[in-house]
């Protein structure tokens, strides 16, 4: 469908197709990611949303070569950066991708920095390695980057160790480190989960400012729909190792097509007094990925489940150019349509 169109008009920066990852564990093989597609355009933000353990972090970490293999294993898929295959290798045309083309920040800044190296040294490292700068040059650049990340007294702070920083400051330093080589993609893996709410907003603002300045794309992994609404251009909703709905922010928020997305939204607080509603949790828990269900993974928790959902996995139904949903409700034989459910929910 629109894929060809997309390629012609606005070439995708990164395209991931049919990515599947497994882990050998004590209890058996966990199929953590079961065929995931997503893509991100230059300068845009893609948010991947889902609850803990749905495979959103594993998807990007496997792409970055950050999962331990073994026990991890990429069983299928491809990831193309500007059309060139990068999955399973960390270099493109002899140059390291990580840190230079794609960089990453993580959930817990407290543990994500080396406790025995100064902040400045850690920021300088990628510059020395990828840009070939001398230590002195790189350190000077690190101070500039800290200033860009709005850390006061950057020159002094650069000589300090992680334990002398607060959580928010550390995440700023992480961001400074990630953008040091002007990557085209920044992957932020739950960047604000471990931080206070006020700090969260500052960090998100910083990321947006830097995106405007450098034009990088952001892949934002989160379980916070508020963060998604604030940051994302496109949203992929992930459940049990699969993407169940994908679309623009407006598509996903205002024209939610998958019952899981509906459930997430019903569980999310709203600060608009006119649309206050009682928060409704999604009953039950995600399926056991040691033995993924034959049908739809959400079937057991879905209030609209039909017999077909238990037996067969649904295909992706396109509801717009970018908007698809992976649910049997969109099948022509289905007696109800999600749109109806959606309006019923909101009435």
């Amino acid at each position: 469908m629109s894929e060809a169109l997309n390629l012609a008009n606005n070439p995708m920066l990164l395209e991931v197709e049919n990515l599947a990852v497994e882990f050998d564990t004590y209890g058996g093989v966990v199929k953590a990611v079961r065929g995931v597609d997503f893509s991100v355009e230059e300068g845009k933000t893609l948010a991947i949303v889902g609850e803990s353990g749905c495979g959103k972090s594993v998807s990007v970490q496997s792409m970055m070569g950050l999962i331990h293999m073994p026990p991890g294993r990429i069983t299928s898929g491809s990831a193309r950066l500007r059309g060139e295959e990068v999955l399973g290798r960390n270099e493109l045309n002899g140059k390291e991708i990580r840190g230079a083309e794609i960089s990453m920040i993580f959930q817990d800044p407290m543990t994500s920095l080396n406790p025995t190296m100064t902040i400045g040294d850690q920021i300088a490292e990628p510059l020395q390695v990828h840009r070939g700068l001398s230590y002195r040059q790189a350190f000077g650049e690190a101070i500039n980057l800290l200033e860009m990340s709005k850390i006061p007294e950057a020159a002094k702070r650069a000589k300090q160790f992680p334990f002398e920083f607060s959580g928010g400051m550390l995440q700023r330093a992480m961001i400074a480190m990630a953008i040091s080589c002007k990557p085209s993609i920044l992957i932020a893996d739950e960047p604000t989960t471990a931080l206070d709410v006020t700090i969260q907003a500052q960090i998100l603002d910083l990321m947006q400012d830097l995106q405007k300045e450098t034009g990088m794309a952001i892949i934002l992994i989160t379980h916070d729909l508020g963060v998604v609404a604030r940051m994302a251009d496109e949203v992929a909703v992930m459940y049990a190792g699969k993407i169940v709905e994908h679309g623009t922010v407006d598509d996903v928020f205002y024209r939610s097509a998958h019952p899981y997305t509906l459930g997430l939204r019903a569980a999310m607080p709203n600060n608009d007094p006119a649309r206050q509603h009682e928060l409704k949790p999604i009953e039950g828990s995600p399926p056991d990925l040691f033995a993924p269900p034959k049908g739809c993974g959400y079937c057991a928790r879905c209030p609209f489940a039909m017999e077909v959902c238990d037996k067969h996995h649904p295909q992706d139904y396109f509801l717009g150019d970018h908007h698809f949903s992976c649910c049997w409700l969109h099948h022509s034989d289905s007696p109800t349509k999600p749109e109806e459910l959606y309006f019923k929910e909101n009435s």
């Binding site: 009953e283 039950g284 828990s285 056991d288 079937c299 057991a300 609209f304 489940a305 039909m306 017999e307 077909v308 959902c309 238990d310 037996k311 067969h312 295909q315 049997w328 099948h331 034989d333 289905s334 007696p335």
Partner: protein
């Protein structure tokens, strides 16, 4: 997707049990046991420990040889030596007459473990002779071996060797002495193959034959069996190893039981009371840790003293307990402090739980895993200490056997009869190994933090 019908799009009829997760939930100990069972090394070690306990406790009931009994016909015998011995007449002193009238250095009669009779012709320029015995040929370095006889008179030209003879090959050297009595390089060597013999009276004494037996001189009998050989005093190695196991394990397991228990009490009291008392108690523990351990083990051992006829096990136990408790105390205190801060303890407190309840319901059960692991690791340490002290002669008093003191005795004859060192050393090593591996397995099974590591 041809097999999809409109009928499939009916709402799903759920069974009521759809929601639950099917995996059964396991208690902490069940879970740990499953993990331990999956760890082959730990299970093999567990079997080894059980086997050692059988060896120690039931072994002496099956192999009833007295560990103190000396078998003088079989001294320092390696295992598997041929036990048959010819019966010879009782020893009668020899007057040095050679019935065959040979010449040069020579052996008279059949050389036996009872006696080796040597005769020689006076060496040129000799002012007397000295007789040496060696296990190897003399060689260029004039290694004669150990002296067994010395005669400053050239007229005496014979020697009877009855010293500690074993079946096998000996090299006897007759060495000429210089005028000042020093050894010269003039010598003659005889190669002698000694045959194992015993006498009727000895055999009767040892209960090898009945008093009314019609065995004659020249017949051959089997000497008493020693599956693992004998030591340098002719004592049975197997029975000594069993007796030694009782000593080594009673110290190695007994002492940790005591001091781990003391450490748990000390540590949990300090951790639970907290504040100044805790500070003071832990400072004291720090001091004890700072004592140079082995030196103080020795010091305490001297201070308690070993009276005559005592085995020295008690002083060693006391010294071990006095010096080794602080490690457990620190560990348990740390655990208690951690657990005290846990939300579930605070919740329990808010619900009105009494101190006793908190200690026995929350704190102790949660430290039990750590304590069990510590205990398993302290056992090999204590066994090592016992072995070490006995090795330097500061352990149990002879004749009480322990693996360490047996090693100490064995090391002296390491070059000629290595089995006297190897058996006790192997027993120490296997015991320590088994407890260490079992401890590793227990720690991995019980310690949640380590679970994802290996």
């Amino acid at each position: 997707m041809t097999d999809i019908h409109v009928s499939d799009f009916r709402p799903l009829q759920r069974r009521s049990d759809v929601h639950g997760i099917s995996r059964p939930s396991l208690s902490y100990w069940e879970d740990a046991w499953i993990r331990l069972k999956a760890n082959k090394r730990a299970i093999v070690s567990l079997y080894l420990v059980v086997a050692l306990l059988f060896f120690t406790l039931l072994g002496p009931l099956i192999w009833t040889v007295d560990p103190g009994l000396q078998d003088l016909d079989q001294i320092s015998q390696p295992p598997g030596t041929d036990r048959s011995a010819e019966i010879v007449a009782d020893y009668i002193a020899w007057d040095g007459v050679d019935p065959s009238a040979g010449s040069g250095a020579r052996v008279i009669d059949v050389p036996t473990t009872q006696v080796v009779r040597l005769k020689w012709d006076s060496l040129p320029g000799a002012n007397g002779h000295r007789v040496y015995r060696n296990l190897f040929p003399v060689g260029n370095e004039f290694a004669y071996g150990i002296p067994v006889g010395e005669y400053f008179d050239n007229a005496i030209d014979f020697h009877e060797d009855r010293l500690d003879l074993k079946p096998g090959r000996y090299f006897y050297s007759i060495v000429a002495l210089a005028a000042d009595g020093s050894v010269t390089q003039t010598y003659q060597t005889v190669e002698v193959d000694v045959v194992r013999v015993t006498t009727l009276s000895e055999a009767r004494e040892q209960g090898l034959i009945q008093t009314d037996s019609d065995l004659q001189i020249g017949d051959s009998i089997n000497l008493s069996a020693h599956p693992l050989g004998t030591d340098y005093l002719g004592r049975d190695m197997l029975s000594r190893l069993m007796a030694g196991a009782q000593v080594s394990l009673s110290i190695g397991i007994g002492a940790p039981l005591f001091f781990v228990f003391f450490g748990v009490v000390f540590g949990s009291v300090a951790g639970f009371i907290g504040g100044k008392v805790d500070q003071f108690m832990m400072r004291f523990a720090d001091f004890v840790v700072a004592l140079p351990f082995l030196l103080f083990m020795i010091l305490f051992k001297i201070a308690f003293g070993i009276g005559p006829g005592e085995s020295g096990i008690m002083p060693m136990l006391i010294a071990l307990v006095l010096l080794m408790w602080p490690a457990t105390a620190r560990l348990v205190r740390g655990q208690i402090l951690q657990i005290r801060e846990q939300a579930y303890v605070q919740a329990s407190q808010l619900l009105g739980a009494k101190t006793n309840y908190l200690i026995f319901r929350h704190m102790l059960p949660n430290t039990l895993g750590v304590v069990l692991v510590t205990l398993t690791f302290e056992i090999p340490k204590a066994i090592f200490v016992e072995a070490f002290l006995s090795f330097i002669g500061m352990g149990v008093a002879p004749p009480t056997p322990s693996w360490g003191s047996m090693s100490n005795e064995g090391i002296k004859t390491m070059l000629t009869t290595p089995h006297e060192l190897i058996f006790p050393a192997v027993f120490i090593s296997i015991t320590v190994l088994a407890f260490n591996l079992l401890g590793d397995g227990l720690r991995d099974a019980l310690d949640a933090r380590m679970r994802n590591q290996e």
